[in-house]
Symmetry: C2
Subunit: 336 residues, 2 copies
């Protein structure tokens, strides 16, 4: 079977993990990477990842430079930010050539929420070129949206969906610990969240995707976020948090339809959180009550979602695709 050629766009911690996982796949061929950081440009992927098998592929400053040097890939793996508008724009050179894009961009989980016109414009572009673009991930992209949606496949009635997720951020990467405000002054964090500069990205997109899939027209999405404040000192590999400072977030997002709260998402993500888990309660017929003990842990799962989506993405109809429009998520065996 012909290997699927991929390019990694964005070489931060998630991009590097994505590359390492891609390198293990006998059905993928990594032909290069793209990053705007001049410290990375020109290096080989082998140098950046420590994976010998990636040794010969290089980092380019743009997709155009990469295409000119090593030709076109089949798929771009995109791990470079949360904004749908920025991601569409970054991926335009690929999409115009019919090259599909799998992305961890949170807003791409449901791009019509914040950028409806862009979503339409790029959907038309993809239909012309034959490309697909879809966002994926663990949250958003799985635990709080795709997994509850999948559960409702056996529902004859769904009245409401509640999902809660408790993540022990101590086990996660530095950028995530920073993003949730670890060590910050709680009031500073509140101000940053109010200004849209902090908190978990993609929460509203999960609510919008759930509502879209359930056929519920939303009157309103309401999101709140409060810092979780340390009562005693907490030390991680990356942060030393004094009592009274922030350990992370307790973020909530609800979707209201016809005056009723149909969707409630509740996320606690903070350092040293006890009993990490994911739980889903669907009220309807039948009632469904799911617990993932320990939760879906870690960045492993994020890059797994990104690699696993590739075959399903390529099998989909061209366009801006939602995960609900692709085949059931599944592990892609690296050697089969």
């Amino acid at each position: 079977m012909k290997k699927i050629k991929v390019v990694q766009f964005g070489l931060g911690p998630i991009g590097i993990e994505s590359l390492k996982l891609a390198a293990e796949q006998t059905w993928l061929e990594v032909i290069g990477g793209v990053d705007i950081d001049p410290a990375k440009t020109g290096k080989t992927l082998g140098e950046l990842t420590g994976v010998a098998a990636l040794g010969t592929a290089s980092v380019y400053p743009s997709l155009g430079a990469l295409f000119a040097a090593v030709g076109r890939p089949d798929v771009v793996l995109h791990t470079a930010g949360s904004s749908a508008a920025a991601s569409f724009s970054q991926m335009k050179p690929a999409l115009e050539l019919g090259i599909s894009v799998a992305s961890t961009c949170e807003e791409l989980i449901f791009p019509a929420l914040k950028t409806p016109d862009l979503a339409k414009e790029y959907d038309a572009l993809c239909q012309r070129s034959g490309a697909r673009i879809a966002g994926t991930g663990v949250n958003p992209g799985f635990v709080m949206d795709i997994l509850p949606i999948c559960l409702t496949g056996v529902s004859r009635e769904v009245k409401s969906i509640y999902v809660e997720r408790v993540v022990n951020a101590s086990t996660r990467r530095q950028p995530l610990q920073a993003k949730i405000g670890s060590g910050q002054d709680p009031d500073d964090f509140r101000r940053k969240f109010a200004a849209g500069q902090a908190g978990h990205a993609g929460f509203q997109q999960s609510v919008a995707l759930l509502a879209h899939s359930m056929g519920w027209k939303l009157d309103e999405i309401r999101e709140t976020c409060e810092p979780v404040v340390a009562s005693s000192r907490v030390v991680t590999k990356f942060f030393d948090v004094a009592p009274g400072r922030s350990l992370g977030i307790h973020q909530k997002c609800i979707g209201i339809s016809g005056g009723e709260t149909k969707i409630k998402l509740d996320l606690q993500m903070y350092l040293d959180a006890s009993l990490p888990h994911d739980a889903i309660v669907i009220k309807g017929r039948p009632d469904l009550n799911l617990v993932l003990n320990g939760g879906v842990a870690g960045d492993d799962a994020t890059v797994a979602a990104l690699i696993n989506i590739v075959p399903r993405l390529l099998a989909a109809v061209p366009g801006v695709r939602l995960m609900t429009e692709l085949a059931v998520p599944a592990w892609r065996n690296p050697v089969a």
Copy 2:
């Protein structure tokens, strides 16, 4: 929007429930039913179901008679047995005309296991005519196959899959209580299982679908079934079981690949079972541990799976389709 025209083939308890649920869907139009039972033929679906909205549609002895009387549907809802060979043959008149089929036939969850040649032949037929046929349900079709597969969408490695399901059969319909051997002599039941005349159907198909999706080539599928014997009298709406007689089944099925047991399914389905639940343990990276408290209960879920698959089936590529090739399962809102 144009309604999707459906026909109900098979008017046993599940077929009647399917019709009742179909009648609630504003996006479906039920144009008739088919059953070989002369006691049902000629009656209206309103008489059989007690649902006024179905009043005018009639029961025909064959698909051909139905097509001649009321024209072609878009989809046949098929609830008439566990055998893939029989189901293909029953559905041939529809598939030849490009009419798609959603079925609760257990073997259709993975028809290539028992009838590989037929599966190929009907796949070719469907590709010519534009029809799709797929099996769905709760088990097989969801709890022990599609749900664990969906979970592995966030796996970077899957080493093994274990699923257990404990069903309190006291809450289920009479034919199911009978099928699991309620009230029978345990040795009689063992003989019947050995002769392929008893036990839960579709178990091996779940194992085969899991292996197919994980890219594991199976050396062997091994299935065992033991009766669960009553230690004291158990009374249900349909059975009165004396001590020493059967309450139901404890059925196991394993899939072995490369000499290793990669898949283990464990099903306990008996009268008065305590703590009904479904549980999934995936060993890999990350480990995943899921519990559905109370399980996915009842026949409601089976007919829900059947109705909910219709839009996904019609969006799929023509052919004999697996549920893993269709979009993520999701509730179809009856009024949206």
